[in-house]
Symmetry: D2
Subunit: 143 residues, 4 copies
């Protein structure tokens, strides 16, 4: 059965652009996080509910991006997101930023660990979350 | 005795600029807030301590700005801040954004009310805060 | 004939929230601008094309907002936008931020003037733009 | 002769904090870029002048960060920045985010390539820039 990765759309806005005329590199992570929040809502683990419930935190311990071709004002972009690794206490998300002309503009990765509030060490991922992330694992061509 | 209003300096950064080549108007409020935080620390009412203590909140109920001359990448800016009104339950701050060439680039105003956590209505300003704000009131030429 | 004002939806994200637990007031203007860009695209005057063509600039000369009820993480918000005034050389946009529970959370207004690149004074609005803005004027209850 | 790496200070502001109560991970890159801009000005290659002159562009092709301990509202932070690699057509900057309590909170790296406007491939770094970057190379303990 074909696998349809999660995707999140946005348009490059006036304020995304910096003095060099392209999207500021730091803003890529803001859009990556918007895609992550939409994904978590979609799979039934909305971040706002997790934070309010206070029984699970998933802080980022690593983030990285590769910038291929600058994003310009007004471009429509699709962020394709999938978990590329699901470990015992952490998971890695992979993001592809594809413009409407089909070109890959940037890639990003974020690594999240599971912390139990009050605890100082990483804790095993909630079982339900590990299962649903595992069910959305990236195809081999996006990792 | 001459009155020296509080001032806060910043430089217009690459990411402050938008696709039209000037500082994005919304970022003026980020810089205004940085000046406000620095001011509150300077007068002995640091916001981070207020928020952590949890016994006073000073949410904004109104903000406005007038944009005179665009701010460009690399310009050094001084934000001159003073309270233009100190009421029973609220206060108004006035900000002037002056560039290193001496020109006034923008003006802003923010209105803050005092809320006691859990309360639904504005509460009288803490006496100490009202006093110190009153001691920094704007001169007649900046209000 | 009933008039349907333009609307733009967004969800309050993790990074919209500040240390006081509500949406940072300056971010309201970022969302207002996103609504403005979407509106301008919708009426056939996309900002990115205007800027690239270089024959019309519509800088903001004034912005203001009133904050009624804090926006919280995860809330779905609709920005209802309409021109409340269309003058000879400028126009005013009015924004209402309505949460999914139907409550009005914030109001904003931005005033834009028409500048011809290279010119130092406000110029008459392009005729086509004045006409289309005039066709979307706010109803009496939103101005 | 002791080597003094460049440093840039900032305070974690209200709007740096997100709904989880710590600095939003994407904002680390904004602060890294502020440190980079200050560094480039300090060594005589201010970005705003480079962009305006239009004869050299130094776009980022890679950025990454490791987050060790969350940054909280009001903390004073020093960003220690040095070039960890200076190649023929690119250079890598290394950033350490150290809080006032002396703890290392985060590390970041950015890779910049030299593009000549209009050219499609990376070009050799301007000789003067390569020399000055080489003169500030990181000590072995920060790379």
């Amino acid at each position: 059965m074909p696998h349809h990765p999660f995707s999140h759309a946005f348009r490059v806005s006036l304020h995304d652009i910096d003095a060099a005329g392209a999207m500021f590199y730091g803003h890529l992570f803001r859009h990556a996080h918007d895609a992550y929040e939409a994904f978590m809502g979609d799979i039934g683990w909305p971040l706002d509910r997790l934070i309010r419930a206070g029984d699970a935190l998933l802080p980022l311990v690593h983030a990285e991006a590769d910038y291929r071709v600058p994003l310009r004002h007004g471009e429509a972009v699709t962020v394709v997101l999938c978990p590329s690794e699901v470990g015992r206490t952490s998971f890695t998300l992979s993001y592809r930023f594809v413009a409407e002309d089909g070109t890959l503009r940037a890639l990003a990765r974020t690594v999240h660990v599971h912390l139990v509030p009050g605890g100082s060490a990483a804790a095993p991922l909630p079982q339900g979350l590990a299962a649903v992330l595992g069910g959305h694992l990236c195809d081999r061509d996006q990792s």
